[in-house]
Amino acid sequence: MYFNIQRFSTHDGDGIRTMLFLKGCSLSCAWCQNPESQSPKYSLLYDQRSCLDECQMCAAACSHIQRQSEQLCIERSMIDQQQLIALQQVCPTEALSVCGQPADADELLAELLRDKPFYQQSGGGVTFSGGEPLLQPQLVTDLAQRLQQQSVSSAVETCMHVPWKNIELVAPHIDCWLADLKHTDAAKFNLWAHGSIDRIKQNFARLAAIAKRLVVRVPVVPGFNDSIEELRSIIDFAESLSNCHELHLLPYHTLGINKYRLLDQPYECADKPLNKPELLQDAQAYAHSNTHLDVVIRG
């Protein structure tokens, strides 16, 4: 399943790219700005700002939605996947929208090739993102292989928290890995992202040996890893990888906070973007003096 195709993406690999966002993730990071991507199933989003007064169309289509004056009362836990499918294309204003589309490789390939002239002119291509794209390794392999046949390059954005065999399967068809290393400390990582950093580190070590190009990406999140010591430790780990020459520091932002509201989920991370330019510069300077890494702020 996927939830978005974003064309003219300019910060996720070389050149002009189209991103395919796949649904489902093996982590649940507190700062995630794509919370609708975490579940591998359909998700329901509701934006009250564009809901029409007096409109009953969703209520008519689903018994677990009721209109109470200006607000909709949505019993999310009661709505099953079949009912969500029935709610697609119901809301006139898309105030209520169902996120997620079953992936059809042929259709997706056709979509991904639409901007091929732009990829060719700019040295761009396709980037698989998510959620965690490597939870759907067959789909990614299939698409990347067929893109490769069409001379379109593929990149992957991954949290690396997946079985090694998934990585191994797609690797021959991926030209650039944008792989997250969010922390080096197991306990802190598990507390914030709910996963195993050791698994990620092991995957990194093995991937470094076979990746055509490996870029380590670090979201810099307030309270989680926004100290120079933590960033140094991450940089040191990246430096220890054979064949890794680039590291991107991505300052925490809050553009996705509203999605939590739409999903009716609590948000527990900082409500303001990271504002520590000197920290990022210090980290960059550290890498410059102590490693061979090319560190880019914002990527």
Partner: protein, 807 residues
């Protein structure tokens, strides 16, 4: 390039101009023309006009202000708008007393102005271009014009223009050389024939006018000398003496240096806009025709690059001083009273072996830099793109775009040149084309008026008539009745809708040409542009004005408004009514009739907006419907010719065009609700751009959609405006990617034109308030992009705050 610098006196001059909110009007031209016409009623109109221009140039107020380097004023006061009574006095009489109160386009009118205008208008009643057009229109044509489905007001109430004259020639031979040529041709002309007698009037008029211009330039020389004598600042005194010398010299001689050449080009530009009030008078390829002067002066050291920039900026501010007054109704279609004086740079030229090469030169860079520093609305700066355009130059263009004043615009050699050659334009001329006005293109000095800018057709209203028995939804009149309507539900299939559209649009296409023919015939007889014709090949050779068929090439285009609305409306009907059966024909008709009023209609409107495909998203199910519907019009146009056909020019036909500037606003104001979910009276889509906020997949998808239109048949221009967030040009990498985007659009999609507006803080504030119009607005950070309207209010505020900071 240093884009963050502006000389102090240029800054002061600019500030003085932009702070004039309600400019004055100037009655001097109107009074002089009335005097001269009255004194010469025995003479042919063309000679009357020559004498009128002579009288005006002889008597009008001239001035030199703002420590300017380039001199020449259009009117008696700064930014004053002259009155051109020979075109119309109708609206002037009706509106003169209230002009100051006009919202957004007001003029300051004194009691003296009012008296002067009221004193002359009775003479002109029944004699103006507009009155004589109405004397020729059939009742049907008048009714259609009154309905505003077709609009031609701008064509009757002012001159044509929309062209560039032969600057190369005037710079090479000077006014004296031009005069000598005319005298020679006049002497050789045989006046014993009817044709010769006719030509004699033209030659005589050119002689009168060119001599008058020579004298006029000498008046500026005298003024500069006088001012120099009393100037206290030594530096400025020297400049004034130099200006005087420049003017004495170029009054007759070809220019010797860059300053004189620029000054002479400006005088030509100015006189064209005193002779006639047609707008979009353009310089053409200024970086080519002035380059030899520029390079020689830079090389010899008599001119510093900084001084050259200031001269250019002084010239641009003179362009900003030129003003035009339009009727209240018409001024809405041209928001901000722009004159669209285009300067075109870049592109290709043919080398000695006849092979194309990049034409970017040192002056192209200087012009780009001067405009980037000045950030003014004039000139309209266009860059001709081609595959081998210097990447550094393209990146510099992106830097100027980043300055946020919407320029430069790009035209694409990769489509214009081959299509011009296919049309019949000679190869050498095709390679020398220039942007004219806003986005349209023609060969400077060889092409007649209005390569675009003939009458406008409101496609959205034509569609509404197609959907309802031929009845115009706004006026209730049926100009071409038929028996199918959504209300009756008797369209048997979507195919019948397309059929009905085809019949209606063919009818209106024919009517628009009929109207153009009337207007052209009156302009030909009543409003000859003498100086303009003298500088367009082959008018002098043929002894004909441009309007009589003097130009080497003469294709024209009208303008079609509401392109995206047409496509989106057809797609909504096809998708929701015929394919899915979600909606009955009658339900849709009722909702349109009620302007979607009421909660149920609003739900229906939202479905039309959100549940049907929209042009601009690379979706064949709408893009191809639009292309097919537009094609009907394009094919119909090919059957018609203009009034110069067979009278000399190559061409003489019509093609389509979409560069309707801001006409989408008043055209929308007169258009009732449309099936794309647009409410009555709100703006139509602009040019060939997607409807505001409906393109949700970003620029590449927009280009793919636009690329499906037959740009090779819409040679009047396929206008595409794009919004960019400041973040899209924040870093070198971002700028590089934008340049790649432009290259792909032009190399691969053969796009016609594109122009970028960096989204301002005001736009973001507006988007927060009215998200429905800004659904396409994307904000980006590394690895993430989001639609602005989908953000939380806090995040929106944060981005607004940052935008303010960056600009």
């Amino acid at each position: 390039m240093n884009l963050n610098f502006l000389p102090e006196r240029i800054k002061a001059h600019k500030s003085a101009l932009v702070n004039i909110v309600t400019p004055p009007i100037c009655t001097e031209r109107a009074e002089a023309y009335t005097r001269a016409y009255q004194a010469n009623e025995d003479k042919p109109v063309i000679v009357q006009r020559a004498l009128a221009l002579q009288e005006h140039l002889r008597t009008r107020t001239i001035w030199i202000k703002h420590d300017e380097l380039i001199v020449g004023n259009q009117a008696s006061k700064v930014r004053a708008a002259p009155i051109f009574p020979e075109y119309t006095v109708r609206w002037i009489e009706a509106e003169i007393d209230q002009l100051a109160d006009r919202p957004g386009a007001g003029f300051a009118v004194t009691e003296r102005d009012k008296r002067a205008i009221h004193a002359i208008t009775p003479y002109w009643r029944g004699k103006t271009v507009q009155d004589r057009c109405y004397g020729l229109f059939s009742d049907e044509q008048q009714d259609i014009l009154a309905s505003t489905i077709i609009k031609a007001e701008g064509n009757m109430t002012s001159g044509d223009a929309h062209l560039a004259v032969d600057n190369d020639k005037i710079l090479a031979v000077g006014l004296g050389g031009l005069l000598a040529e005319v005298k020679q041709r006049r002497a050789a002309n045989d006046v014993a024939t009817l044709e010769g007698l006719h030509k004699e009037q033209f030659y005589k008029s050119v002689e009168i006018v060119v001599s008058a211009i020579e004298q006029h330039i000498i008046r500026f020389a005298d003024l500069a000398s006088t001012m120099a004598a009393s100037e206290q600042r030594p530096d400025r005194q020297l400049e004034l003496l130099q200006i005087a010398e420049n003017c004495y010299h170029i009054a007759k001689q070809p220019p010797k240096n860059f300053w004189q050449a620029l000054q002479l080009s400006y005088f030509v530009q100015l006189i064209l806009q005193i002779e006639s009030n047609g707008h979009s008078v353009s310089f053409g390829r200024m970086d080519q025709f002035l380059h030899r002067f520029y390079q020689a002066d830079i090389d010899s050291g008599v001119l510093s690059p900084e001084m050259a920039l200031e001269m250019l900026q002084s010239c641009w501010l003179k362009l900003l001083e030129v003003n035009k007054i339009r009727s209240g109704a018409h001024s809405k279609a041209s928001a901000g009273s722009p004159l669209y004086q285009n300067v075109c740079i870049g592109g290709q030229k043919l080398n000695g072996q006849g092979e194309p090469e990049d034409a970017v030169n040192s002056l192209s860079w200087a012009i780009l830099e001067s405009c980037g520093q000045l950030r003014s609305t004039q000139p309209n700066l266009s860059v001709r793109y081609h595959q081998h355009l210097d990447q550094d130059f393209l990146m510099a263009c992106v830097d100027v775009i980043k300055c946020g004043f919407g320029m430069p615009a790009f035209n694409n050699d990769e489509i214009v040149i081959p299509e011009f050659i296919k049309l019949g334009v000679e190869r050498e001329d095709a390679y020398n084309y220039a942007a004219i006005g806003c986005i349209e293109t023609a060969v400077p000095g060889k092409w007649g008026y209005r390569c675009t800018g003939m009458s406008f057709i409101n496609f959205a209203r034509v569609l509404l008539a197609a959907l309802n028995e031929g009845v115009d939804a706004t006026t209730g009149k049926a100009f071409l009745p038929h028996d199918k309507s959504l209300a009756k539900g008797n369209f048997a299939s979507f195919n019948e809708i397309q059929q009905s559209w085809a019949e209606q649009v063919r009818y209106y296409a024919r009517k628009s040409i009929e109207i153009d023919t009337v207007v052209d015939s009156v302009l030909e007889q009543q409003a000859q542009d003498i100086f303009c014709s003298a500088l367009v090949d082959n008018c002098l050779e043929r002894g004909k004005t441009v309007k009589e068929g003097g130009a080497k090439y003469d294709w024209v285009s009208g303008l079609q408004v509401g392109i995206a609305n047409l496509g989106n409306s057809l797609a909504a009907i096809k998708h929701l009514v015929f394919d899915q059966g979600q909606l009955s024909q009658a339900e849709l008709a009722q909702a349109l009739a009620d302007d979607f009023d009421g909660p149920e209609h609003e739900q229906l409107r939202q479905r039309l907006i959100n549940h049907a495909p929209k042009y601009g998203n690379d979706d064949d199910s709408v893009d191809l419907l639009l292309a097919k519907a537009y094609q009907v019009y394009v094919d119909e146009l090919a059957k018609f010719v203009n009034t110069r056909f067979g009278r000399g020019p190559i061409g003489g036909g019509y093609y389509a065009g979409t560069s309707s500037i801001s006409a989408n606003v008043p055209f929308g104001a007169s258009t009732m609700a449309t099936p794309d979910g647009r409410k009555a009276h709100s703006p139509l889509a602009e040019g060939a751009s997607p409807s505001s906020g409906s393109d949700r997949l970003g620029p590449t998808a927009v280009y793919n959609s636009v690329g499906k239109l037959q740009a090779d048949k819409i040679l009047g221009g396929v206008l595409l405006n794009q919004k960019l967030s400041p973040a899209a040009v924040a870093t070198d990498s971002d700028k590089q990617k934008l340049s790649m985007l432009i290259r792909t659009f032009f190399n691969f999609h053969k796009g016609w034109h594109v122009q970028y507006n960096i989204v301002s803080r005001d736009t973001l504030l507006a988007a927060k308030q009215a998200p429905e119009n800004y659904r396409d607005l994307v904000v980006r950070v590394a690895g993430y992009s989001a639609f602005f309207t989908a953000l939380s209010p806090d995040a929106q505020d944060d981005i607004i705050a940052r935008t303010e900071h960056q600009l």
